[in-house]
Amino acid sequence: MKKATLLSLCAGCLFAVGMYLADLERPANILGAFQLGRQWDPRLMSMFVGTQLVQWPVTRLLRARGKTMRERPLRFTHHRAVDLKLCLGALLFGVGWGLGGICPGPGMTAALTGGSHVVMFLATFLIGLRVADRVTWGSGVPATR
């Protein structure tokens, strides 16, 4: 097996372990993060802090190095403009997140568990991805991420 594939497999496993440890596979725990007051759930915010403890220094080191581990150039996206498409998309995403308590990470991790809420979410999530990719947007920013 190619090294890159093996690495992707390991990274995928790591992601699922992290999601399980953070206990964010229960939609109620994510919705709880958006409930201010006594019922506020600390898991989502704690998870974000944890990701940056690793992601921030790694990104910084890679930037300083200027190349990947395979000595290839970095391909960070260079879109700078905060445009209407970004804002409308982000608001739409947030509405969905607040309705279901699932975002793509927890959803795809639970893809094979067969829970009816996950199946419903993923079916329309995939349709949404495809629909949005087929629509031509005014700003002409290609979807790369």
């Binding site: 990701t51 995403f93 309705l99």
Partner: protein, 141 residues
């Protein structure tokens, strides 16, 4: 607030960061879960295989955790299925319009100090908080 829950979540987050860091360091491309999923239909075959490998390993590991601890995957929101269908469509469409999801903007984008990502993450949370305030879990629509 239970400190053990916070510690577990921080550790879990660190592993998620390590997962994206591995791909970022090797591929040099910051791509979250929605980007990888949409990327199954885009790009070179080599890129598609890498994305597919990541997503398959992730779903299989998720299945293993579900077999060993199904309670961690339970839906206790009391919300009907059609709400989840609506949620999925909003999340899928929104993620592509915004060029990223919680992982792409919230983890990778924030780490590279992208203004777009910060704006996206704040709007995700503002909209989600508004929805949860109007429609609390366990409550009627």
């Amino acid at each position: 607030m239970d400190i053990a829950i916070v510690q577990r979540a921080v550790l879990g987050g660190a592993l998620i960061g390590a997962s994206f860091s591995l791909r970022l360091a090797y591929e040099g491309r910051s791509e979250g879960i929605s980007g990888m999923t949409a990327g199954l239909w885009q790009g070179t075959w080599r890129e598609r295989v890498e994305r597919g490998a990541f997503l398959c390993a992730m779903a299989l590991a998720g299945l293993a955790f579900w077999l060993f601890d199904p309670d961690a995957f339970v839906n206790t929101t009391g919300r009907p299925r059609w709400i989840f269908a609506l949620a999925g469509f909003c999340v899928g469409t929104g993620a592509r319009m915004a060029n990223g999801c919680t992982s792409g903007h919230g983890v990778l984008g924030i780490a590279r100090h992208s203004l777009r990502s910060l704006v996206a993450l704040l709007l995700y949370m503002a909209a989600a908080s508004a929805v949860v305030t109007l429609y609390p879990p366990g409550g009627a629509l």
